[in-house]
Symmetry: C2
Subunit: 625 residues, 2 copies
């Protein structure tokens, strides 16, 4: 395989040494960029490492199309061995940092080792420096980024907050209010005593056929602009379908998954009122302006500002569908201003707002069940915003018994607490579930069970297909059925993996199918490509991640679902009575492993790995049949 | 996709017109050659046609590597809509014709229409002629070829016998004693009144990198020569494992599948004697010399001559494992000289020796059950060689009631006869089963059930893997288990399809894995290729065949097994008690369809087809999910 290939940068924080390396053409062709590079490098370079040891590596890889101008190609992958799951950790964000990295001449950055003192890593074109930054330690992410920009004008940043510094396993990385939040990568930075990465590039990114690329960029920009969904995305953001999910589908989990919809919103609607958490209500009221990821032509990010009241002055890039769930419905908080305050608190502290919300929700349930005693003055009942805010601060600081109990997410918390509290700990492989009640979305239940990073809505991105019943070339999909979901999940994963390799936003996947990618990739890289080539690349990378996990000891038993999903039917609403029977899960796993060419224990077969040009992985750990 | 692309030739027998066409580069890259070209062209050009109408087309496509010198790359695909199955018909033979076609400048030949009178098609480099050949009509294949070679020295031939002329649906095509026997393609030639194709080429075949190709040819020739199996293949041919299959595995069906091994051989062995059907016995005694397919470095073909006795003078290229089954065990004939006579009779008449043998076996069982009355003087009991010879002649001539009853194979015969005779009709989709008792080889049972051409051992070529328990990167495979067979069958099919696209002999698949192909294909075509690219190409072509069948109305109900396999356990021997339960079959089908990305009804999904760069097929008939 021939074609374009750029450069990578490796930084060893322990020695301060850095090295450039030429990305081999074959590596480029096989892994393309972004998540592809990150997956393979992590597989090759991090083996059995303690996630908090200097041996763990943080990899930052802008998607192949980042910086090209292709609309919504804005995503940069962060990856490391996850302290939260113990497996393949990754998080993807619309970070300006990725664009700057490309302009500085690098397609991927690998960070290993550990600084002696709190520091920041600064990359300005070919100049790489590690600066001591004790003065930034302890600051929230916004303040940190702002101070860095004062020292290096216009530098793009990736920053951790106190949560990352304190090694909270649910700490994320903030990229100028675009979060690489999931799987605890902020804590990995914290363990390296790396407060921030700052990058500034001034070079030109080279393409195989710039003229063709310009034409394609113009073409796809037009297509996206003309799509009526663009306007809706910009107006209401990711929470666009909140009401529909809640009231029509009954698949918006609330009260720590005790319910399949948010009772308060549901009741209001039945009485003909609007729900305050619906962006059709709050967006016109609180949105100040749109705020785009790099190269986005339909920015769903909107700046939300609270003009008055107890949360006056709160301003953040939000709310998102996921935070309305994790910090709204799951906590029984229906006031969007309060959710904004909770959301901003998570962001500033550097906590994953999904995981943090679910952890507080778990604590509230444990409190109401009398399983924990937070001490006097802290009423942890559902709906208590002040208590939630206090708990979030305690978590990020690992303050007191309660802060320590909760700082590492629900899995760790329920294991520490015991008392059968795991029965309402809503996670897979340690990662807390996102905002889709998979009890009544069977294909997504499978996707959440098998995802390499734990419970994740974006690994397969299948919720739309299941809930609407159609997407791309699928139609007539039945979300209540567990039949035939193996291949459906597999192909979604392959395709979404490709999106992350290219850096294209999954929130444009209803406009931007794989059919559009081959000629774009050819224009960028000179590779002679096709749909099958690109989807095979996605499949390859997904298998590399699975192999990473298999090597760390993951297998079929880890592809499971929370007890609540497997045993408590949704009590009320449009999806009433639905849950995932254990037999259904096992059957779906069998189907999925067959579709994937993996063993019945969920390990990629040697044959499958060889078929994906992964002969070395076949030798290392492929299954015999 | 770019690279090498040659020329095709189309001949319309109705008009005598012929056209050359340039094979588009993309077509070349997607389909490679051989079975790949044949599958796609048949899909595009033959739709709902009566197999015997002028609209059906016979496609002749030498594998991509035919003529290159790559060892065992000798196979040419013949394809048409099958009169036997009504679906995708193909048969592959080590025909010298393919090499000559390449040297004449053509990578594929398409024959449509119908001659007014019996004729032959003659291609000499760019000169294409259709000659009347009434004088050849009625001759056996050997005599026909011999007479053609007298008119055109050294012409390579593909010829039909009386069976093809008389539209027996189990008639094959003979290529100088290499048979493209299966699925009734001889009858398709017969329906076109085409007695023979003769080709002579004198050109040089062009390659992208001849020097590299020479090096690779030398390398692989050495590898194959040094493999100890080469010597065994040459000494004993395809029947090498007869004793093992029979006595150790108990999976050599005999007496029309009433037994799972050949009782007579088994008993002899138990008494310390040799079985006469074992090539370790007969090969040293009767083999005159080896006879190779083009470019074979380990010819398993051996000329067998009977020096005395009632069958004195019988000389043929044989015996084969399959004919020892179909004309030996299944008829309860243990005399190798008699089997040779039966085999030669089939060959000369132009009958598929597997199908013909099984049809006679079916007739013998029907006779012993009192369901048919062949008239006085014809004792159709098992073991009666003279009766079998008589019946074969009657079949090829469609002589009398019995000849007509049997001429089209067991499916047609059992449907005509009725009387529950379908209960012992051993076929899938109309094609008679090959020599592996799939009741105790579950993965192969699935392969036989789903194969696009009906019961076939070569579509997946999985019997070795299942019986030995390992092959290529598989190991620990359990032939008695129906678990996890979906992906196993799928990847075998993809790989074997690739073999037929390249024209590499499947009897070298224990020496020549896919890892060797990318650089060879690159040297030949200039394509920048890889294992995943080649296997995806195999998968693509297999899906095209499945789509052909789906368009003709095939679906899950056709992916089934004979009643004997589904309800009668193997009565005795090492595999005693084993059979395929209906539930097992259904489960294996579910697994297989998931592995394939097909609907639960067995139709490729739109998504899978798009994933294989088959967007047009997705639109035409892809399933929604």
């Amino acid at each position: 395989m021939k074609g374009y290939a750029g450069k990578g940068l490796k930084v060893d924080l322990s020695t301060g040494r850095f090295d450039e390396w030429r990305i081999p053409e074959r590596f480029q062709a096989l892994y393309l960029g972004g998540l592809g590079f990150a997956s393979r490098l992590l597989y090759d370079e991090v083996k059995y490492a303690d996630p908090f040891s200097p041996d763990n590596k943080l990899i930052v890889a802008p998607g192949l199309l980042v910086g090209t101008g292709v609309p919504t190609a804005s995503k940069t992958t962060f990856a490391a061995k996850s302290p939260l799951t113990g497996g393949f950790g990754r998080s993807v964000a619309g970070a300006r940092l990725g664009v700057e990295l490309k302009k500085a001449g690098y397609d991927v950055l690998t960070i290993e080792g550990r600084c002696l003192k709190p520091s920041i890593l600064l990359i300005q074109d070919g100049e790489v420096e590690v600066w001591e930054a004790g003065d930034l330690w302890g600051l929230d992410v916004r303040e940190t980024a702002s101070r860095i920009r004062k020292r290096v004008a216009d530098a793009a940043t990736a920053v951790i907050g106190p949560a990352g510094e304190n090694l909270c396993k649910i700490a994320g990385i903030d990229c100028e209010e675009r979060q690489a939040a999931r799987t605890g990568l902020g804590a990995v930075m914290g363990s390296k005593r790396l407060k921030a990465i700052a990058v500034k590039g001034s070079g030109r990114i080279e393409y195989a056929d710039p003229e063709k690329l310009r034409g394609l960029t113009a073409k796809w920009t037009k297509i996206l602009k003309e799509n009526p969904n663009s306007e809706l995305d910009m107006k209401y953001g990711t929470a666009e379908f909140y009401e529909w999910m809640n009231v029509e589908k009954g698949t918006f989990p609330s009260r720590n998954w005790q319910h399949g919809y948010f009772q308060k919103s549901f009741d209001k609607l039945k009485q003909g009122e609007k729900s305050p958490l619906d962006p059709y209500y709050w967006s016109p009221k609180y949105t100040v302006k749109n705020r785009a990821c790099p190269n986005c032509t339909k920015p769903c990010g909107r700046v939300f500002r609270v003009p008055s009241g107890p949360y006056m002055g709160v301003e953040l890039d939000g709310l998102e569908y996921e935070t309305i769930y994790s910090l709204g419905g799951c906590l029984e908080v229906e006031d969007p201003e309060a959710v904004a305050k909770l959301h901003l608190t998570c962001d500033l502290l550097g906590l994953d707002a999904i995981s943090a919300g679910l952890t507080v929700a778990w604590a509230m349930e444990a409190y109401e069940k009398g399983l924990i005693d937070p001490g006097p003055g802290l009423n942890l009942s559902f709906g208590n915003v002040d208590a939630a805010l206090t708990v979030l601060e305690m978590m990020a600081a690992k303050e007191g018994e309660l802060g320590s109990l909760l700082a590492d997410g629900v899995k760790a918390a329920s294991e520490k607490l015991g008392k059968r509290s795991w029965e309402f700990a809503v996670h897979v492989k340690g990662l807390e579930l996102p905002a889709y009640d998979v009890r009544a979305i069977k294909g997504m239940a499978l996707a959440v069970a098998v995802s390499t990073r734990g419970a994740c809505h974006l690994t397969a991105g299948i919720y739309g297909t299941e809930l609407v019943g159609k997407w791309w070339r699928f139609s007539g999909v039945d979300r209540f059925s567990a039949e035939g979901k193996g291949y459906e999940v597999k192909i979604h994963e392959d395709l979404m993996t490709l999106y992350d390799m290219l850096g294209v936003c999954k929130f444009s996947r209803h406009m931007f199918y794989v059919e559009g990618f081959p000629e774009i990739v050819s224009a960028v890289t000179g590779l002679d490509t096709s749909i099958s080539h690109l989807l095979t690349a996605g499949e390859r990378v997904y298998n590399v991640q699975r192999c990473f996990n298999a090597r760390e000891g993951f297998s079929r038993v880890d592809d499971t679902l929370p007890p609540r999903v497997l045993s408590q039917p949704i009590p009320k609403g449009p999806s009433k009575g639905s849950f995932v029977k254990r037999k259904e899960l096992e059957r779906m796993l069998d189907d999925y492993y067959q579709a994937r060419g993996w063993s019945e224990n969920g390990v990629p077969t040697k044959v499958k790995l060889v078929s994906l040009d992964l002969e070395d992985l076949a030798d290392e750990l492929g299954s015999d049949h």
